[in-house]
Amino acid sequence: MFDRPENLAWLILLLPLFSAVAIMLFTSKLSKLSARISIAAVVASFALSLVFFVLLGQTETIQVPAINWINVGTGPGALSVEIGLKVDHLSLLMMLIVTGVGSLIHIYSYGYMQGDRSFSRYFASLSLFTFSMLGIVLANNFFQMFVFWELVGISSYLLIGFWYEKPSAADAAKKAFLTNRLGDFGFLLGIIMIWGLVGSVQFDHIQQRLATNPGALGVYSTLAGLLIFCGAMGKSAQFPLHVWLPDAMEGPTPVSALIHAATMVAAGVYMLCRAFFVFQATPAAPVWFPWLQGVSALHVVAWIGGITALLAALMAVQQNDIKRILAYSTLSQLGYMVMSVGLSGPAHAMFHLTTHAFFKALLFLGAGSVIYAVHHEQDIWRMGGLREKLPITFWTFLLGTLALCGLPPFSGFYSKDAILGNARHQNTGLFIIGVFVAILTTFYMFRLIFVAFLGSSRSEASSHAHESPRIMTWPLIALAVPTVIGGIIGIEQFVGKNLGVAEESHVAFMDRFTEPFNHAPLAAIAGLGAVLFGGLLAYALYANAPRDPLPGMIGWFAKAMRNRFYFDEFYDWLIARTQGALSNFAQIIDQWIIGGLFIKGIHGTTEFAGRALRLAQSGSLQTYSFLFAAGAALLLFLFFKT
């Protein structure tokens, strides 16, 4: 093992799986031990990922021997799938996020979930999730990625529905899984289509094929790109499949932090970056898709991202549940990332993904700490004045908020600026949307801060709140560090090595703070202006406000925002009219036409014949069957005897 250090990569992937299996089979009754096994596994994976960080150095990829998984056929039409590990800058960055942020959240959970009667099941699911997520990250082919993609889906299902006795949690889990399945439908179809065209599911093969011949996907290139994007739409909750993410907040808060903020929902963006070569194929569409002519898949991706960012930010403005505000904010930030991929800036997207993982995990864990302190109250209008009572939570939460809003020198500023700077060059419409979303972001986040943390207590629970135990506060402090400095440590340059960003940064360390203002001044100034404007607006409306003044000011629009623009209602209606109606129709046909007329018809005739024959026969099934077999044998015998 030690002469081949690259084989250690398998351990990174498998340790969490061992932990999940061990907990399920052996330690489910020993909750403390289960938690320790799970934490040890993810921390060990993190440590090994750091080893690979050193090993990788300047090389592009580390070759890890793969396992042949399915191998059927040769030549065209053959399916050969391996389980391999692709360790390069892109996957390593993601591994560090998943295991690093994951470690902190595992540890935090040890405090937060204390006393839950399914403590072991919680950690087993968490380990299963870590395993599946690492599988997506390390996959070297589409098929393997899809396998782990689905496993992430089921882990998420198990964790959202962790408190399955609560009908709302059970429903949310179901909704999340089904919405994801809609996206996966496109994803799998896209994979099959690309396999049909190129003859391989291996990333390297497809990439090489497309590099030598950008037209290799023929007239299906746009369609293939869009189908692959469907997968990301489901997992990263992009419009119109965004509806599951806010409901997913029914899961325990650390789960929301890990899965529905920092890692799993980022998988869609990661997949788009990993498979970016598909989108670089020459756009073309078959003639029977007239509306796709002349459209490139990236264009659609960018606009979907932009629309998601805008819609989600608007919805966030009128939410009152602290976790839901953060959930919509996550949607909105994911929209930024997807938009950036669509604007041919995957490295910027990965940069924002990374900083977002830090500050959003921090914000969610902070929200968890608040919820823990005020006895599971989630309505911000029943909090207030928590600054003095939860000092560590407050200050770290504030750092996270500033990073999310994009105030320099916090990490979020640099990554958001990279996206806006790119948008500024590529698409003015999306740039304007991006800046507007930045205003909204600051507005709703400071609304949250002003209402929940500042002012005076609004409820009994919040006036008696106490700071959370140390096991929960120190992950907050640990996450606050990268939240602050994440923007200037060269993440984009690191991941850019695999994403074709040629520019090597030679900027001196101290100059990196101000680099955006030299590089793309308009975008940087617009971003900064948005923060200040949004912040001032929030101050004017919400500083010491007894209740929300916004509904009185914009009336029905506030109501629409609070009701998420009625997407859920619309979908319910649509599903009832289409799939529901079809299903009713099929049921009726089955019961009355096929099962009814058809069979009753035969039944009737047979019954008649039966009555006639009853004179000679007993009518018992056994006799019938026996005579039938005997008759057949006799016939055969007579036929050949002659």
Binding site: W69, I70, N71, V72, G73, P76, G77, A78, L79, F146, V147, F148, E150, L151, I154, Y164, E165, P167, A170, A173, K174, L178, R181, L182, F185, L188, L189, I192, M193, G196, L197, V198, N213, G215, A216, G218, Y220, Q579, L582, S583, N584, F585, A586, Q587, D590, I594, F598, I599, I602, H603, L621, Y624, S625, F626, F628, A629, A632, L636, F637, F640
Partner: protein, 521 residues
């Protein structure tokens, strides 16, 4: 003697012994039945392990039976049936374990169950057409009796009548097809191996092929609940005792599919080519239509029955594709679905025993009182909607990949059926049965989880087997592949050109050539 003979003989010997034991020695009867099924399973595992991939027919044994007609006792296994035999033996044992629910006339039940198990294993191991059919009938007849006598629900008699009618009709049509095949091939033998070799050099005439193939297709199709001949299945399984439903839905139903692959495809290649595009669309009736019907069921047994019908669509699609990936995938689905159907019916039977109902509206929150059964149900439902890790995913994915080039549109719809519709009803079942608060009607009933190792065995056995094949699919695919290859070599060797690939590497190459041409101009 071949190991296959022992595998088949075990249940029959068990049946004979059961016959000799007085009926009040219930423990002895049950022990004999379990030992016979267990021994058969162990031997099947041994045979599976000893099987060498790509070695053609193995463990063969041939004895003369009816010499005048060329009927022999000929058994053997290649990649196509070795997995099915293993699956059949495992399900046979699990079904015998579940037979403890039968309290009345249990001697006769065990007797029939063992005959059924032996018949199924015999049908899969036979390499003689007559033997193949004979064993199938031997397994089929106990099915009818078991539903009629030990069945449940008010629809019991109608269901038994219905299933008898359908399956007898199917078997009869298939028999006519087989007789016609025997007569027209001119090989004058019932031996499948000899017949295949003969037909390879003396193809059956096109007119005869086009006449015989549909007979086999619909005859076998009815046995497999091909749409629109599927209504017997949910109804019959809903009324059947647990063990019978497990064995029939899991194993016996695969007989028709096995017959199609083993006999119809290689012997009637031209007939296959002119009919398989019909199958590619009929199978959507299974996957989409029956999936939609399953969405509307309130009764767990009917839901599982419909879902089982829906899954058969994937096998038909794989067969219709006539591609190596597709047919290999179809065989994997047959094995995986056999295990899964047995698992779901076993769970449903257990729940019925405990709650006294199979109406999902009257269940709820069962995860808390029955954690083992609840977890097993979640796993079974997830396997049913194609979760990777279970063998069903491998098979279904391979079918979809394999059929894409030949039938892009049906494949697209099948992906929808598998990923979306399947998930809708499976998750609905989980939500209704194990999630949510405990329903009031259930609080009065005393619910016992499967706690003892003995009670857990059938469930754990089936789940573990599904997981093993799901995680390590080459165990199956490496064995199936060579057999599927030789069958496809014959099936695609007909005079008709195979269905042209529409969206394939070929068309991309054409596109490249076209664009290169455009550039030069």
């Amino acid at each position: 003697m071949s190991i296959l003979t022992y595998i088949i003989a075990c249940p029959f010997v068990g049946a004979l012994l059961v016959l000799c034991v007085p009926r009040n020695y219930r423990f002895v009867i049950r022990t004999i039945a379990l030992s016979a099924a267990f021994l058969s399973m162990v031997l099947a595992i041994r045979a599976f392990a000893a099987f060498s991939a790509g070695g053609g027919y193995q463990f063969t044994q041939q004895n003369n039976w009816v010499q005048d007609l060329g009927i022999t006792y000929h058994v053997g296994a290649d990649g196509l049936n070795i997995g099915l035999i293993l699956m059949g033996a495992i399900v046979g044992f699990a079904a015998t374990c579940m037979a403890r629910e039968i309290k009345e006339r249990d001697k006769e039940f065990y007797l029939l169950l063992l005959i059924m198990t032996g018949g199924i294993l015999g049908a899969f191991a036979s390499l003689d057409l007559f033997l193949f059919y004979f064993f199938h009938e031997l397994a089929l007849i106990p099915t009818f009796i078991m539903i009629g006598v030990w069945g449940r629900g008010e629809n019991k008699n109608y269901a038994a009548f219905n299933i008898t009618l359908y399956l007898t009709a199917g078997a009869l049509i298939a028999l006519i097809g087989l007789i016609a095949l025997y007569l027209t091939s001119g090989a004058r033998t019932f031996d499948i191996v000899a017949m295949t070799a003969y037909v390879k050099t003396h193809p059956i005439s096109l007119a005869n092929q086009n006449f015989i193939f549909p007979l086999l297709l619909f005859g076998f199709g009815i046995l497999v609940s091909l749409w629109p001949f599927h209504t017997w299945a949910p109804l019959g399984y809903g009324a059947a005792p647990t063990s019978t439903a497990m064995l029939h839905a899991g194993v016996l139903k695969k007989f028709g599919l096995y017959g199609l692959i083993r006999i119809a495809l290689p012997l009637l290649p031209d007939g296959a080519h002119s009919w398989l595009h019909v199958v590619a669309f009929l199978c959507l009736g299974n996957i989409i239509y029956c999936g939609l019907v399953a969405m509307r069921q309130r009764d767990l047994n009917l839901l599982i029955g419909n879902s089982s019908v829906a899954h058969m669509g994937f096998v038909f699609l794989g067969i219709a594709s006539l591609s190596l990936v597709g047919v290999t995938g179809a065989v994997v689905v047959m094995i995986a679905h056999g295990l899964l159907a047995a698992l779901t019916f076993a769970l449903s039977g257990y729940l019925y025993q405990q709650t006294g109902t199979s109406d999902m509206g009257k269940m709820g929150g069962l995860m808390r009182p029955m954690p083992f059964i609840g977890a097993a149900l979640v796993m079974a439902m997830m396997a049913g909607c194609g979760l990777p890790g279970f063998a069903n995913f491998i098979g279904e994915a391979m079918v979809l990949f394999g059929s894409w080039n030949a039938f892009p549109l049906p494949t697209t719809l099948a992906v929808w059926g598998g990923l979306v519709i399947g998930a809708v009803y499976m998750l609905r079942a989980i939500r209704a049965i194990v999630h949510g608060p405990v329903v009031e009607t259930q609080t009065q009933v005393k619910l016992t989880d499967a706690v003892s190792l003995w009670r857990k065995t059938p469930f754990a056995l089936l789940i573990v087997t599904l997981l093993i094949f799901g995680i390590y699919p080459s165990l199956l695919t490496d064995k199936i592949k060579p057999a599927a290859e030789s069958i496809l070599a014959m099936a695609n060797g007909g005079t008709v050109v195979p269905a042209k690939a529409r969206i394939s590497a070929g068309s991309a190459a054409a596109f490249e050539a076209k664009s290169a041409e455009l550039k030069t101009h």
